[in-house]
């Protein structure tokens, strides 16, 4: 009897450590892919300064967008491959497909009847899917919304991988809000505070999304020295110039996006969260290692 218990405990320890290793590796992949993606977005800040300082600016301008585009595509592919492991059943895939379809229909409606400035209704579901189903599903929700809606609205272009990655990051970061809640062990947060927190998060992403999307093209545009990249500038100066460029060209546009996110979150956030949580219980099977399940039983 004691031997069998020892064996079970040993099995549990082995399976538990294997689970922890897989978990750590998964997190490392997310970190590496995200780091590569972030570097691909901010790389021009660094290499333009170096190339321009050494007089190679003209050569760099032709091949670097392609290299950066390739890196973004690789990051996106790796994050999708890793994230899709979280969808362990066809029901989860169908759930994701339904949410993507609803969001794509919203983007189609937005294309036909555009809102003011950068207002778009699609960020609401991306954020809430990340909060309810976790960062991995949130990433897939963001990336696939951009892909499917681009197919439908004819918005396929070289900007698409950047949009997919940035929207994916939005959903992935929303997952941090849910994991924070789980870590606190409350499970049921104060509904009002939760919506207020989500409103702040959605407003921030309204600006962050625009700022990130501008980054990939900004270093390759020539403009006034006050708003464009110049030879020999320091990182701090580059950031200041980018901030001026963003303020001049995109701030008012993204303001409508951020304000729209807040309004939608305040009006529809609670009802949507309740619905998604109801369907989470119905459709999503949470995977736990066998040994843990045995131990619990």
């Amino acid at each position: 009897m004691q031997n069998s218990e020892c064996g079970m405990q040993k099995d549990f320890r082995i399976q538990n450590s294997a689970f922890i290793i897989q978990h750590v590796l998964s997190k490392l992949i997310y970190a590496a892919a995200t780091l590569t993606g972030v570097l691909a977005f901010v790389a021009p800040f660094v290499w333009l300064a170096q190339q321009q300082a050494s007089g190679m600016a003209a050569a760099g301008r032709t091949d670097s967008p392609l290299i950066l585009g390739g890196l973004i595509a690789l990051c996106l592919a790796a994050l999708i491959v890793e994230s899709q492991r979280s969808a362990t059943s066809l029901k989860q895939l169908a759930l994701l497909a339904a949410l993507v379809a609803i969001n794509s229909a919203l983007r189609l409606a937005e294309t036909i009847l555009p809102g003011p400035g950068g207002f778009t209704p699609i960020f609401l579901l991306i954020i809430l899917a990340g909060v309810v189903f976790g960062g991995q599903m949130g990433f897939l929700m963001g990336a696939l919304t951009m892909l499917v809606s681009a197919f439908i609205t004819g918005g396929v272009g070289p900007w698409l991988p950047y949009q997919m990655l940035t929207a994916g990051w939005m959903g992935m970061s929303a997952g941090l809000l849910s994991s924070r809640r789980e870590r606190l062990g409350t499970g049921r947060p104060n509904p009002d505070w939760e919506i207020i927190l989500l409103c702040i998060f959605a407003a921030a992403w309204g600006f962050v999304y625009g700022a990130i999307m501008n980054l990939w093209e900004w270093p390759f545009q020539m403009g006034d020295p006050a708003i464009s990249f110049q030879a020999g500038v320091t990182l701090q100066q580059a950031i200041q110039r980018y901030a001026a460029y963003y303020a001049l060209t995109s701030l008012w546009w993204d303001f409508f996006g951020a304000a729209g996110n807040v309004i939608l979150m305040a009006l529809f956030g609670r009802a949507t969260l309740n619905l998604l949580r109801r369907f989470e219980k119905k459709l999503v099977v949470k995977s736990v290692p066998d040994a843990r399940a045995n131990h619990a039983s």
Binding site: Q22, L25, S26, I29, A32, T36, L39, A43, V46, W47, Q50, T62, L66, G70, L74, A77, A78, I80, V81, E82, Q84, R85, A87, S89, L90, K91, L93, A94, L95, L96, A97, A98, L99, V100, A101, I102, S104, A105, L108, L140, L144, L147, V148, F151, G154, V156, G157, P158, M222, G223, D224, A226, I227, L248, I263, L267, F268, A271, L275, L283
Partner: protein, 333 residues
Amino acid sequence: MRVESWVMWLAACAAIALSTRNPLYLILLLLVVAAVFAKEWRPGRMLRFAPLVAIAAAFNAISVHFGDTILFALPAAWPLIGGIVTLEAAAYGALSGLVLACVITLFGAFSQVVEAWELVRLMPRAFYPMGVVISIAMNFVPQTVKRFEEIRESMTIRGIPLRGPRDWLPLWSPLLAGGLENASQTADALMARGFGALENPSSQKLLRDRLALLLGFGLLLAGWMMRFADAGAAAGTGLMLAGALALAFAFWLAGRDFKHTRMAQRPFSWLDGVVIFVSLLALMALVLSPPVAWLDGIRASMAYSPYPKLALPSFDPLAGVLLAALALPVMRK
């Protein structure tokens, strides 16, 4: 023509458009696109982009105060836009607008000849679950639009018109709930037909796949850092290539978990082969431009800039021939 040939052709054209500011090449590329998609996409639609070019020219002209040919000056006290307005800045803005028009035209016309499902079918096996999601989502979109109409009509019948944003909540909740119920039923129906059973890969397989991904990113980042730090550009590029190959290998490994069948494919014709060959050739010569002497003319003409004084762009005949050859898809049936 097969979708693979179209994708290769599109990649070559888009890369060329994004790599040059030479107006002669850009206009030639626009003419090629107009000729290729003359049946599906009225070339007259390209005129819609004229305002885009004009706006880009005006924006650059007032925000960039650089160039030798001064047109007029705005008061220097005006923040950011104050200063001289030059012909060169306007020309550069117009060229940027032309690049954007070229890219939008390319992708807009491309989406007319290639169906979304054909692109989904091109997805590598590693992305099989996402292929399933995209296929289901593409079918759900029209259903979602239809359900929206039905709910709106029933609300109108009950005397609940859609006025302010608050009126949208009674529409949004059933739309979302209906979509999720539909998803549940679709998944049940698919499972009942034995479709799309997802097997959980073993721990060893997962470990192998994840280590391959991490190795790829490790090599990629190491190579990139070497390029950044200027510590051997060739070695850095080599490491980055090795990292990209390791990632491709990791995707291939991950794809082995999914069985894949291909049905009713278009046959590979001679035109497919020629289009792929010409696209690769154009991509190599015009965009990648390896440092060989006979490509010097192309490199010089591709790197055209209107600054500091506007001059006529140069035109390399070989580049012209390669660009014209990209019109080969006009020969498709």
